[in-house]
């Protein structure tokens, strides 16, 4: 995935879309104040300059799907692991809830179900049937909308054709009005996301930790 920070307006459409797509529990103000809100993608704000000459930079942060993910080796039951496509996946059914993975995630993108999830009416009627609802005591995080990836791959296989570049769109990518987010196959050197990742504008978050994230942030080189 590539995210163009020069395009991002910080509108939070990705956050809302992610909530709807992935059946994220809705938090009330009290639990949000307790640090228990769920946002698989969040928009971080960075301020440059002094008021009134201030500039705000927005940075959507989601699971970076690291190649060397620090969350993976620490899980005692393999509830989080790297699947064949290179995604860092979370197996809800296997998770026992040690929360070690969340402690070891430098991006703080992992979320824990402190209680069974609740939705105020009528939101409980709009669950996405493709995404399981997580029970109390398990960890969850951004999946790159694995259900959408699988749907496209399945139909491509049925039609006996390769998946086209840009055909898979996670909810955040699809909903971005500024078209700041691009999703694709990094193994395919011709894909749009690969070209952006090698464009010279790309950096990765906390790259010096050696986690090798698969999300590239694009911004004008200063």
């Amino acid at each position: 995935m590539a995210i163009d920070l020069d395009r991002c307006t910080g509108c939070q459409a990705c956050v809302a879309a992610c909530h709807a797509e992935n059946n994220l529990p809705v938090s009330d103000p009290e639990s949000a104040a307790k640090g228990r809100a769920f946002h698989w993608i969040r928009v971080d704000r960075y301020y440059e300059g002094e008021f009134p000459e201030i500039r705000v930079k927005y940075m959507p942060v989601l699971c970076q799907q690291c190649d060397e993910a620090p969350c993976e080796p620490v899980c005692p039951v393999y509830a989080t692991y790297k699947n064949e496509e290179g995604l860092n996946v979370q197996v809800y059914n296997r998770c026992v809830g040690t929360r070690y993975c969340a402690n070891n995630c430098p991006y703080s993108v992992r979320f824990f179900n402190w209680f069974d999830p609740k939705w105020p009416a009528p939101l409980d009627l709009q669950h996405n049937p493709d995404v399981s609802i997580r029970m109390t005591g398990v960890m969850e995080k951004c999946t790159f909308c694995i259900q959408r990836i699988q749907r496209v791959e399945r139909s491509a296989k049925e039609e006996d054709r390769p998946v086209a570049d840009g055909e898979i769109q996670p909810a955040c990518v699809q909903s971005c009005p500024a078209e700041a987010m691009v999703f694709g196959d990094l193994n395919d050197r011709e894909s749009k996301v690969s070209r952006l990742a090698e464009s010279g504008r790309a950096t990765r978050l906390l790259e010096d930790l050696g986690t090798r994230p698969k999300v590239f942030y694009l911004q004008k080189a200063e």
């Binding site: 307790k34 640090g35 228990r36 969040r42 971080d44 704000r45 942060v61 620090p70 080796p73 620490v74 899980c75 005692p76 039951v77 393999y78 296997r94 998770c95 026992v96 809830g97 040690t98 929360r99 070690y100 969340a102 402690n103 070891n104 430098p106 991006y107 703080s108 992992r110 979320f111 824990f112 179900n113 402190w114 209680f115 069974d116 029970m135 109390t136 005591g137 398990v138 960890m139 978050l205 906390l206 930790l209």
Partner: protein
């Protein structure tokens, strides 16, 4: 000073040490009921947490670990009282150890039972904790041997097994003697536990060898256990957790708090059971010196740990260092330094001040200090994350506080029950015996 137990005839020793086993005083019943009530309340709170979800505790994002992990490390630390101290003393053949070892070994077993519960209490889905165990299952799933938590489970279950055996072995000659004198269900209990001990030369030699072997092995296990507990933290890439010094640092801290716990238990046993003749000022003095030594070692490790972070001046590490020493957590930090170093150094370092009473006071201070040390290690690192957009404090809820309190009550309860069933000071070791002489 009371007469040294070696001079007292053996029949008198046995009479003295068996005395607490007989009868139940009103005070004993009152204390046991109180502790039982607190323990049951803690169990109720845990039940409530299982029913409602772990969210009834105060942990939150990003402080995913809180009181439960602090208590876990604390109790595993306490468990080092026994085994380690008694094994060292046994291997070095320190004669003064005799009245101390069983009291210490019992602490180990009970502290481990309690400490070992905490990772389970802490789990989001505690009812499937056994998924960490590599048992054969229909889906052919293995646990992840790369995870420090799995090392932990392995280390602690090994330690619990080992230290139970280590407590049990020297108990055999005692229960065999008790079986001859007791009646009713106690007789059956002691007879079963004595495993048909007759006291033949062959049995004595086997027992001696087994105890020596266990002492040597349990030392290695004890050191490895707390090293592994430390690795739960230092294997993570979080600032001020990712430290090579953590293994030995934790072992030193564990022995430190273990000796403190032993001193407290000994002074209670001495008073409550009138063992003044057996637990003499000499024992307290020796252990107090050991406590002082560990205090200095602890200071050395803490200094080395903090100095390198401060001098290195790496921003992410300094953020954590800052909240620890100058920010939100500084009150705990400096209280810890006061309790762990200043109090024992003054009370035990100045010879004129060193007594049973001051050793006990210093030990209480050390336990408080060492609990705070674990809190200082666990929470600030999590509260200050790498990305400034995510941060958060932590305050425990009544559930966590209740469960924490209950574990102290449970410790007291287990200890009281144990000391009513078994002599808390080993009796047979006072008996002049051929196996001892060669």
């Amino acid at each position: 000073m009371a007469a040294a137990p070696e001079i007292v005839p053996y029949s008198q020793v046995r009479h003295d040490l068996w005395r607490p086993l007989a009868g139940v005083s009103r005070r004993y019943v009152a204390v046991v009921s109180l502790l039982l009530a607190i323990t049951l309340w803690g169990l109720f709170c845990w039940g409530y947490q299982l029913r409602e979800g772990i969210g009834v505790a105060g942990i939150r994002r990003p402080v995913f670990w809180g009181f439960y992990i602090v208590n876990f490390v604390f109790w595993i630390g306490i468990s080092h009282a026994g085994t380690l101290i008694s094994a060292i003393l046994r291997l070095t053949e320190a004669q003064w150890r005799k009245p101390v070892t069983r009291a210490a070994e019992a602490i180990t077993v009970f502290a481990l039972m309690i400490g070992g519960m905490f990772p389970i209490i802490h789990l989001g889905r505690a009812w499937i904790f056994y998924w960490l165990i590599p048992y054969p299952n229909s889906r052919l799933l293995w646990p992840n041997f790369r995870s420090p938590l799995l090392w932990d489970l392995t280390a602690i279950s090994t330690y619990l097994t080992g230290s139970t055996i280590y407590l049990f072995l020297p108990l055999i000659p005692d229960v065999a003697q008790l079986a001859q004198h007791a009646t009713g269900w106690r007789r059956r209990l002691y007879r079963t536990l004595s495993l048909g001990w007759t006291g033949s030369d062959r049995e004595w030699h086997a027992l001696e060898r087994a105890m020596k072997l266990m002492a040597a092995m349990i030392l290695a296990v004890a050191v490895s256990v707390h090293t592994v507990v430390a690795w739960d933290f230092s294997m993570a890439i979080a600032p001020m957790w990712h430290s090579t010094i953590f293994g030995p640092y934790f072992v030193v801290g564990a022995i430190f708090s273990g000796i403190a716990a032993l001193l407290i238990v000994m002074s209670i046993v001495r008073k409550a059971m009138h063992f003044e003749a057996y637990l003499t000022p000499h024992h307290f003095d020796n252990l107090a010196k050991l406590l002082l030594l560990m205090s200095l070692l602890w200071l050395y490790f803490s200094f080395a740990e903090n100095l390198t972070v401060w001098y290195g001046n790496e921003p992410k590490e300094m953020n954590v260092f800052g909240v620890r020493t100058r920010g939100t957590f500084s009150i705990y930090f400096w209280t810890m330094v006061f309790c762990n170093f200043v109090v024992p150094f003054v009370l035990l370092g100045i010879k004129r001040l060193r007594s049973i009473r001051t050793a006990t006071i210093a030990s209480v201070a050390v336990l408080i200090g060492m609990w705070l040390e674990r809190y200082i290690i666990v929470v600030p690192t999590l509260a200050v994350t790498r990305l400034s957009s995510v941060s958060g404090g932590y305050s425990p809820t009544w559930v966590e506080i209740s469960i924490t309190t209950a574990t102290f009550a449970a410790m007291g309860l287990l200890y009281l029950l144990f000391s009513k069933l078994f002599p808390i000071v080993s009796v047979w070791e006072f008996e002049p015996h051929p196996a001892e002489e060669d």
